[in-house]
């Protein structure tokens, strides 16, 4: 492997991403909404809303009763306000957080693979002495690195925002916990690999950034299913389940990337282009 060439591909793709408004806008807005605005809102307004006349306390109690017992065990000793904050900021947001690496990896990969075909800049790259594998690794890393960076920075911002917003009610730090650490360091890269693999496969069949991004966006469905399962209490993101989820996502991501690398051949790209 020629790592100097791989580094050059990463540098080229990242510079191109940073200078594209179309790519950067979702990369800024989504983390801002999910990692700062929403947790700040939940943390601040949950106790306020519960204090308001007409707050439906019996329904909330009924909802909490339906949660998995393992999850309920973590709520012992908390007031209703504290419990709702813990539920929303520690549990409900956990699967939602995974949208971040998935979205970043997909957007950057769509720009790097399909977008490059659209801009007709791939041909110059194809005539360089890099091998197909070096080109593929360079492009995969140029999508993976920002996905992981955004995840990490997003997690730090989220932890800070959630703790600050919840402090008046909780009087203690609610994050990070082991589940979230596993989520960030293990499940998040696995989720990024899934988004990346799906986008690489889609990009080999389409010639435009938007098209690739929209079709590959279907991969967000399993994450949304997890969000719904967690919110409705069907599933509880325990430490073990989170770790297992990482294994499953790595497997799916691995399979998708395996098929992705098989489609990424100079001759195939040019023949289809």
């Amino acid at each position: 492997m020629n790592w100097r060439a791989i580094k050059a591909i990463i540098q080229r793709d990242l510079l191109a991403v940073v200078r594209s408004k179309g790519v950067m806008i979702p990369l800024i807005i989504v983390p801002l909404v999910f990692m700062i605005l929403l947790p700040a809102g939940f943390g601040y307004f949950t106790p306020v809303l519960m204090e308001m006349p007409g707050a439906n306390m019996p329904d909330l109690t009924l909802f909490l009763d339906q949660l998995p017992p393992a999850m309920l065990a973590n709520f012992e000793g908390y007031t209703m306000e504290q419990l709702m904050i813990i539920f929303s900021l520690v549990y409900m947001f956990a699967p939602m957080f995974l949208i971040l690496p998935l979205m970043v990896a997909s957007v950057v990969a769509a720009d790097s693979f399909a977008g490059e075909k659209e801009r007709k800049t791939l041909e110059a790259l194809i005539y360089t002495p890099t091998t197909d594998m070096e080109l593929f690794v360079g492009k995969v890393l140029s999508a993976m690195i920002p996905a992981l960076l955004v995840s990490l920075v997003g997690f730090l911002l989220y932890t800070l925002t959630a703790n600050l917003a919840a402090w008046p009610t909780m009087g203690e730090m609610i994050l990070p916990n082991l589940t979230w650490i596993i989520l960030v360091l293990w499940v998040s890269p696995a989720t990024a690999s899934m988004g990346l693999g799906a986008t690489v496969i889609v990009s080999s069949r389409v010639n435009a950034f938007q098209e690739a991004n929209q079709i590959a966006g279907v991969i967000v469905l399993p994450i949304l299913a997890l969000v719904i399962a967690q919110v409705t209490g069907v599933m509880y993101f325990s430490v073990w389940l989170t770790a297992l989820l990482g294994v499953v996502f790595w497997l799916i991501g691995g399979v998708l990337l395996y098929f992705g690398v098989r489609t990424f051949r100079r001759s195939e790209i040019l023949a289809k282009g």
Binding site: N2, R4, A5, K7, A8, I9, Q11, R12, L15, A16, R19, S20, R119, K120, T121, L122, E123, A124, L125, I126, Y127, T128, P129, T130, T131, R266, S267, L270, A271
Partner: protein, 319 residues
């Protein structure tokens, strides 16, 4: 004895489904030579460049470039070749300097030499002042110059130009022509020039290969092709205004004289004779008709004449 060819193909063929993009191509190109690869759009020029750089594999046949088999040693070969693609293919979000610096790394230019090499190329192509601007802000000519600079970044031994002057203004076209001549004559580089600009090919190429529907239909220097394929002779002669109608009448009576045209502002006539041997007979007839001849100039056929004659022959064969 002539040296070993730099590019050799034998029966090189590439199919895309039912379409034959390159059909049984036999070609030898030598060091320092500029070979013009002529053909209409879709004739198979770009596919040949891709095959010779190992980015497409042939369906059948053999090829060697710089002693390497492109389908086996593609990466090693591309280190020694430069390609200017039909579209400049430069990254518009990056600056000119960044484009060159990144490709210097991709072409393994030694780290210590990168700044010097990039600086030299920017200077050569008069891009130094705009090196820090994003390429999206460049004119078409500047983008093409940047793409040329990129194709030369690692000082390749063989350079493939795919329509290098397409859409460029005459000033930049001339600069590109000078560069190609300089690369070949002073630098000893081998140049494979794909073009459908026949004047460009005539001006720059030592030999030309004419491609039609993937098949090479002629190969040789423009002069060789003229001898082989162009049996007629184009002539221009000067007479007097008074004698012009008689001259035209005399020539129109000759069955082997074609394309007879007179100039609007001077007493000159140009025509095409089917055979060169008919010149004395034509002169005899004009003198007998008392047409004074002040100047008689035979004109060498242009590559354009040859190209279209070749094309017409093929259409006749097909019909």
């Amino acid at each position: 004895m002539r040296e070993q060819p730099v590019i050799v193909t034998q029966g090189l063929t590439r199919l895309f489904g039912d379409i034959t993009a390159v059909d049984n191509l036999d070609l030898e190109i030598y060091r320092g030579e500029v070979l013009g690869y002529l053909g209409h759009n879709g004739a198979g020029k770009t596919t040949t460049v891709r095959l010779l750089n190992g980015v497409l594999t042939p369906t059948s046949g053999k090829m060697q470039v710089l002693g390497l088999d492109p389908s086996v040693n593609g990466a090693e070969l591309r280190q020694r070749t430069g390609v200017l693609t039909e579209t400049p293919s430069v990254d518009e979000r990056l600056t000119g300097y960044e484009n060159l610096k990144i490709f210097a790394a991709l072409f393994n230019v030694p780290q210590a030499d990168v700044e010097k090499r990039v600086g030299e190329l920017l200077e050569t192509f008069q891009l130094t002042d705009r090196a820090g601007d994003r390429v999206g802000e460049y004119s078409k000519g500047m983008k093409q110059k940047l793409a040329l600079a990129r194709a030369l970044i690692q000082q390749p031994e063989v350079i493939f130009f795919d329509e290098p002057t397409s859409g460029l203004d005459p000033v930049i076209t001339r600069q590109v022509h000078t560069l190609i001549q300089d690369l070949s004559k002073n630098g000893g580089h081998t140049v494979f020039l794909c073009t459908h600009n026949l004047a460009e090919a005539q001006r720059l190429c030592d030999r030309v290969a004419v491609l039609e529907n993937g098949k090479m239909v002629a190969l040789g220097s423009p002069a060789e092709l003229a001898r082989e394929l162009w049996k007629g002779t184009r002539l221009e002669f000067e007479t007097t205004h008074e004698a012009l109608p008689t001259a035209l009448q005399t020539l129109e009576a000759m069955p082997d004289a074609h394309e007879i045209t007179s100039a609007e502002d001077q007493p000159a006539i140009s025509l095409l004779l089917t055979l060169r041997d008919q010149i004395p007979a034509m002169v005899e007839r004009l003198v007998a008709a008392e047409v004074p001849l002040y100047r008689l100039t035979p004109q060498e056929p242009t590559l354009e004449d040859i190209y279209f004659a070749l094309h017409e022959n093929d259409q006749e064969v097909e019909a």
